[in-house]
């Protein structure tokens, strides 16, 4: 065992991991009655220490969102165990904030109402919740847009409102599903830096799903690679030894390049496999 892994193990023994997946299998019932269930993810094991930023990368359709949903408690594994700070998870994960891949803002609430809702529902006085929400909107650079409805915001602005909506509750664990996926390259970088700023102010455990390997390396402490599905597994993980604070220029770092080459070599095969599988599935259908 390498010294790095040993170091993680000792740390993990001292304090329970924020998230611990052990041999998790997630199956979906077959659409045809009586058919065998579809196993999306199998034998997934992953530990995330408190305050650690982990990125998951994998070919599309491999089960990244599924794994995140299991960590959030929205899906129950058919097999294996999900523990949150040492406690087995049952029902929803109350310690986690989840930034969804799809649009998830309340369309009938303004930006500030969307952000304040997490406080409203725990009984925070309205004025206080609004004031706090405005503070968070300022942090994500949207002070001027507080009273707009989601449809009056751009895709990137909506994601920022979503981020503020999740962070205002100070979750101990942050789950993010391709949060910057639909954005253009420049906006992604700006959002990435924003995320790093917010995160470094108050380090939470982060599980960040992306299909963009560069983004994963630029942001994360550790990059986890998932293989192509069905029954996708975690096929490798790499530490990112680039010191923090990092910013956009990290992509010019030679260490970054070396790591990118290494991980891409492993990932490429899976991406091709995943692509072939979805192609043959389409022809079969």
């Amino acid at each position: 065992m390498s010294p790095v892994v040993n170091a993680i193990r000792t740390q993990a023994d001292a304090a329970p991991c924020a998230v611990s997946l052990e041999g998790v299998r997630i199956a979906f019932p077959n659409a045809k009655p009586g058919g065998a269930p579809f196993i999306a993810v199998d034998q997934a094991s992953l530990d995330i220490a408190d305050g650690e930023f982990v990125a998951i990368v994998g070919p599309t359709g491999c089960g990244k969102s599924t794994l995140l949903n299991a960590t959030a408690g929205l899906l129950t594994p058919a097999f294996g165990r999900v523990s949150i700070f040492g406690e087995p998870l049952s029902g929803l994960n109350r310690k986690a904030g989840y930034l969804f891949q799809a649009e998830a803002l309340f369309p009938w609430k303004t930006a500030v109402e969307n952000v304040a809702i997490g406080l409203d529902i725990v009984g925070t006085p309205k004025d206080e919740a609004r004031a706090e929400a405005r503070k968070w909107l300022a942090r994500v650079g949207l002070s001027a847009f507080a009273d707009r409805y989601p449809h009056m915001l751009s895709g990137g602005q909506r994601k920022r409102v979503g981020l503020a909506q999740v962070l205002i509750r100070h979750p101990k664990i942050l789950l993010m599903d391709e949060p910057f996926g639909p954005l253009d390259a420049q906006t992604r970088q700006i959002m990435g830096n924003l995320l790093l700023d917010l995160w470094s102010a108050d380090r939470k455990a982060v599980l960040f799903v992306t299909h963009d390997l560069e983004e994963a390396i630029a942001l994360a402490d550790r990059v986890v690679i998932m293989g192509a599905g069905p029954a996708a597994r975690i096929i490798g993980e790499w530490r990112v030894p680039i010191p923090r604070p990092r910013d956009i220029d990290v992509r010019l770092d030679p260490v970054f390049h070396q790591l990118h080459r290494e991980i891409w070599a492993a990932l490429k095969e899976e991406v091709v496999k995943g692509y072939k599988q979805s192609e043959s599935a389409e022809q079969g259908a």
Binding site: L92, N93, Y98, E103, F106, W108, I117, G118, I121
Partner: protein, 270 residues
């Protein structure tokens, strides 16, 4: 924008002027064409078609003397009662069915049957049960409004985005809070999108009910006039009814605009 609105209004008025002009000419100018008919004739015989002048004069007189206000008031009252009772029932039952799948499944065929029934056949029964006063008309309107609102609310609750629901749950909402912040606004949106139709049907219920048997209301006035072949009276009643509908519809549009501010403006063809 404003210029566009004015020119649109001008065009709309033009249509009215042309149609009324044609009517006027058809009903007042006598043609003498021996090849078509031996006697001189009107294109639109004023006995069957009245004349615009007579219709406007009658309408003006009705408003001026105050004879019409009472009937307008009755029809308005019936329409509002039918709308609010029908909408309240539709919202409650729609909500309930959407949240209780078993209930919806059990009642599904009956709901479809009841909705497929032409409501006019119920009018005499309601008159029998509730008498010739306003309540038989309200009941007829309710049967129309209820189903529109019911189906829309049911749909609205069912079609809540699963991601939005998951997000609300992850933000820590209880079942009650989900109702208040997710299902209820979604159902209301759908309800308001059917507001015009629902109010329209409430009015149809009231007027048809009055027409089939009553002692007051716009439908009653039209029926009375028809009974004595008073075509001017019938057209005058229709004119009042149309003005009434336009006023109500404008009011509904204003309410809708106020309540659905968060919605993106529908794409226009221009």
């Amino acid at each position: 924008m404003t210029r566009n609105r004015w020119s649109l209004l001008a065009l709309q008025l033009l249509v009215a002027v042309v149609l009324i002009g044609l009517w006027h000419v058809g009903a007042t100018v006598k043609w003498n064409l021996p090849s078509l008919s031996a006697k001189p004739f009107y294109v639109l015989d004023p006995f069957f078609f009245s004349t615009p002048g007579a219709v406007f004069a009658r309408t003006w007189a009705d408003f001026y003397s105050g004879a019409i206000w009472y009937h307008l008031g009755i029809t308005l009252l019936e329409t509002l009662l039918a709308f609010f009772i029908g909408a309240a029932g539709g919202v409650l039952i729609g909500f309930w069915f959407a949240r209780k799948a078993v209930l919806a499944a059990v009642f599904d065929p009956y709901v479809k049957m009841a909705n497929a029934l032409p409501r006019v056949v119920l009018a005499p029964i309601f008159a029998l049960w509730l008498g010739l006063g306003i309540w038989s008309k309200v009941a007829l309107g309710v049967t129309l409004v209820f189903f529109i609102v019911f189906f829309n609310v049911y749909q609205g609750v069912k079609e809540v985005s699963p991601t939005l629901l998951a997000n609300a749950r992850m933000l820590g909402m209880s079942e009650r809070q989900l109702m208040r912040h997710v299902f209820w606004p979604s159902a209301l949106t759908w309800m308001f999108s059917s507001l015009h139709t629902a109010v329209g049907f409430a009015l149809v219920g009231a007027v048809v009910g009055e027409y089939l048997g009553s002692a007051a209301g716009l439908g009653y006035r039209i029926h009375q006039a028809e009974g004595v072949f008073d075509v001017t009276g019938v057209f005058s009643g229709m004119l009042v009814l149309s003005i009434f509908v336009i006023l109500i519809d404008t009011l509904v549009s204003a309410i809708e605009k106020r309540l659905l501010v968060w919605r993106p403006a529908p794409a226009t063809a221009q």
